[in-house]
Symmetry: C2
């Protein structure tokens, strides 16, 4: 949230500052508020520099997504031996983090932006958002789920399906509702706990696993 992102790979410090300001404008006013002139004024740079750096307004938007995602690093903390309680804790932390990320100002603003553009640009921004932004948190969950299976604590046929089940239990329709303007949950922890509870009921090893009969078809 600060404008002091220790080390950015792809953008110069000046560009990063401009992109941070662009995100700020986007968050507070939606995409209508993000005009080239407005950004130039707010970031104290020239429009010409904007076009030199990002080429285009769409280039600017894409750069904003890249920039934001370069700032979000998911902590990859595994390695300890998993117990049932540890797995539950990690799942709950993941669920809370997921809700936290999805309800973040910048995330919502970028998702709204990409959704708004999806009709015109062939979902280019949407793909960027899903591919780069989601992959990190997806990988974390997948790692956790796989580790749970390896430790004999989870039971499922299709890891992808299991992950989507977890995701659905955690998020339900909250993401869309927040995108539509509803306020976030008062307490993500409750939602996270209930979702993990249900997930473990479905896929935990100590009780029973839903067999899922013929469930090999792909998404």
């Amino acid at each position: 949230m600060s404008s002091q992102p220790s080390q950015i790979t792809e953008f110069s410090p000046r560009q990063s500052a401009v992109l941070a300001e662009a995100l700020r404008l986007l968050v507070e006013g939606g995409d209508k508020a993000l005009t080239t002139a407005g950004l130039a004024r707010a970031a104290s740079c020239s429009k010409e520099s904007l076009y030199k750096w990002f080429g285009d307004r769409d280039g600017l938007l894409a750069a904003m997504i890249s920039f934001q995602q370069s700032k979000v690093r998911t902590v990859e903390r595994s390695g300890e031996r998993l117990t049932a309680e540890l797995l539950r804790d990690h799942l709950e932390v993941f669920a809370r983090d997921l809700l936290e990320v999805l309800s973040g100002d910048v995330s919502l603003a970028l998702n709204r932006l990409a959704i708004g553009q999806s009709s015109r640009d062939g979902s280019k921004l949407g793909r960027m958002l899903v591919e780069h932004g989601r992959r990190q948190i997806d990988r974390r969950a997948r790692g956790l789920i796989d580790a749970g299976k390896r430790a004999g604590l989870l039971r499922f046929d299709d890891a992808d399906h299991a992950y989507h089940t977890l995701y659905g239990l955690v998020v339900s329709d909250l993401h869309v509702r927040m995108l539509l303007g509803e306020p976030a949950l008062k307490d993500n922890a409750i939602q996270a706990r209930r979702a993990v509870e249900a997930f473990l009921t479905l896929h935990g090893a100590q009780r029973n696993g839903a067999d899922g009969s013929a469930t090999a078809a792909g998404r």
Copy 2:
């Protein structure tokens, strides 16, 4: 999907035709393609009439939502005595219908529109969409779930929570992904079947119910 909605309450036939054309424009080109001049040309009406009827561009958008929702009627079919198989069937039909609705062209376009506007208009359109559009399908599901509980086939503490569980299992992140431009599922039936399977594992009475411990806090 046809432009022959037997009887529209709120709008004259002419206005309905114009609104249908507006929805068509919105679906095929996004909100940028929905200009007053473009709509007037496409619907063979004058801009002056548009402003007389709907007052404003925002009024037009709101009217489009009302119009679309006046066309979507959910079949309220209950009354028969519930068996476990019947409940499962009804739940699967509901799940398929839900996925069908959410992946519909018009629904996606209107949701994109409302999400795009949510930063500027204080989520007026978003509220309309959630309140009027969702309530119908929500009520259908709630009726089904309540009937299942009365028949002793479902077990849960909080009907609202149970419904959101079902919703999350059915939809997962599909809605947002589709809003971002991803294609819909090839086969909604598979997803529906798996979701209902999981839901019954969680809340069906014949196996066991997730106790849910202390789960009375509200959303």
